[in-house]
């Protein structure tokens, strides 16, 4: 469409359309490049308690706490994790345009990482600190590979995440809101008391916490 200055620009769409790419038929070279990129963007979940070659039994897990994003990861580091009660049992290795994680478990708080810890006194309690950004096309893979290693019967999952207050939709202005504040979403199978109000419509959660 034409703008006031007379130049013609392609109007971006809220619907997130990416048409030019999708409309073109894929040549063999395109397919080759796409497969290479997909391979580079594959996620590896490495569990330290599994040695290569032995049968891959699922991890028995009763509670799984996942902290997604730097703030939530920092919360766990400050208030929950310590080297006495928790041991590292896994790491996720991934690459995308925003970050790269490695398979090392010795990380600095400013690094991008995704680590799994197990409570030594109760090895069925698992914790995940994911401070790296998991891209859209990797979220499903992350989900399948992490939960695929677990026995899910009787499993309770708690997801901790943060969102900017500016994204919160409410009748009043967000300037007058007392922040930070908590909101929750729960499945109908979760019968326990929730410690804060439920997330009101029209607010939503997206990306890895949603997945």
């Amino acid at each position: 469409m034409a703008t006031f200055f007379g130049e013609v620009v392609v109007a971006p769409s809220r619907a997130g359309l990416d048409e030019e790419e999708e409309a073109r038929e894929e040549t063999p070279e395109d397919r080759e490049i796409r497969k290479e990129i997909e391979k580079k963007r594959e996620i590896d979940v490495l569990w330290t308690w599994r040695s290569g070659g032995c049968a891959e039994e699922p991890l028995v897990c009763s509670r799984f706490i996942v902290a997604i994003g730097r703030n939530a990861a920092a919360f766990l580091s400050s208030f929950i994790l310590d080297s006495v009660c928790w041991e590292v049992v896994g790491v996720v290795k991934l690459w995308n345009e925003w970050c790269r994680t490695s398979s090392t478990t010795n990380v600095l708080p400013t690094d991008s990482f995704c680590l799994f810890y197990r409570l030594i006194s109760d090895p069925t309690v698992l914790l995940c600190q994911c401070s790296c950004y998991v891209a859209e096309d990797q979220q499903f893979q992350w989900l399948e590979k992490v939960f695929g290693s677990m026995q899910k019967k009787g499993l309770q999952v708690t997801i901790l995440s943060t969102c900017p207050v500016a994204d919160y939709k409410t009748q009043e202005s967000t300037l007058t809101l007392v922040s930070p504040f908590l909101r929750a979403l729960k499945t109908k199978e979760f019968q326990e008391q929730v410690c804060c109000p439920l997330l009101e419509q029209p607010n939503i959660v997206r990306d890895l916490p949603a997945a």
Partner: protein, 266 residues
């Protein structure tokens, strides 16, 4: 792909044999999706399942069609299926954009589900960039339809009675007069791909689309849903000045354009 809801009592998966599948394309202005919201909300449809797919950006929230405190806490995700057996209608709602390179896999999985669940026909609600219309399309109605050859035989006559306009095909190479005419739906998302695949798979599909631009697309959604209603007669269309009054706006449409203003501004 399709996971039925567990309604308890060991009920069998829902049967969609012969049903009409109504679904949106994620397209300019999100008009198809808004129109589907109106259909689900007005007909008070029951959720019967969802699609477990890696093709859409994940999202989750509470019930977008909540009418009271009691029904507001059911979780809702990016691709859910609702049904109304009395009208033999099953509706798919898509609530997030497609992930790059996933248009084709989604279309293939969807059409294979349509075939396995033996849906009678598919109606796709979509939209296209208004600024890409040619001189003739600028005049007259902004609404268009398309039918796959299999559905053309069944309902082509009805479209003529309704005096509907079929989507024009354009020259593959504009400016050169003797090239093939092709379908071009800019801003239509998966519309063209799904339509072409349905033609080749022998699926009965209709596409209903509106030319529009990004902005406040609620009026476009009303126009599109009334267009759909002319054909499918989902609700009684009363003769009144305000054709939008019979459709129920869902509670999730609140605050589409931001929060309230800070009093300190004034």
């Amino acid at each position: 792909m399709f996971i039925p809801c567990d309604r308890g009592g060991g009920s069998a998966a829902p049967d969609f044999k012969g049903f009409t599948l109504l679904m949106p394309a994620v397209s300019v202005g999100n008009v198809g999706q808004l129109a589907i919201d109106l259909v689900i909300s007005t007909l008070d449809m029951t959720k019967v399942g969802y699609f477990y797919t890696d093709c859409l950006v994940p999202m989750v929230g509470n019930n977008p069609y909540a009418t009271a405190e009691e029904n507001s806490t059911e979780l809702s995700i990016n691709a859910e299926v609702y049904s109304l057996p009395s009208k033999k209608l099953v509706v798919l709602q898509i609530r997030s954009p497609f992930i790059k390179n996933k248009y084709r896999p989604f279309c293939e999985t969807l059409l294979s589900w349509v075939k396995s669940s033996k849906c009678g026909r598919v109606v796709l609600l979509s939209s296209s960039h208004a600024y890409q219309r040619d001189d003739e399309q600028l005049l007259g109605t902004p609404l268009r339809y398309l039918l796959t050859p299999d559905l053309e035989k069944a309902v082509g006559g009805r479209m003529k009675e309704l005096n509907w306009k079929e989507m024009e095909r354009v020259a593959a190479y504009p400016g050169i007069s003797d090239t093939d005419k092709v379908l071009h739906i800019p801003g239509g998302g998966i519309t063209k791909l799904l339509f072409n695949e349905s033609c080749s798979e022998g699926i009965q599909m209709a596409v209903l689309l509106k030319f529009c631009s990004e902005g406040d697309n609620i009026p476009d959604a009303f126009v599109l849903v009334n267009y759909l209603n002319e054909w499918l007669q989902l609700i009684k269309s009363e003769v009144s000045n305000d054709p939008s009054s019979q459709w129920k706006i869902p509670s999730s449409w609140r605050l589409l354009f931001g929060n309230g203003l800070p009093p300190a501004l004034f």
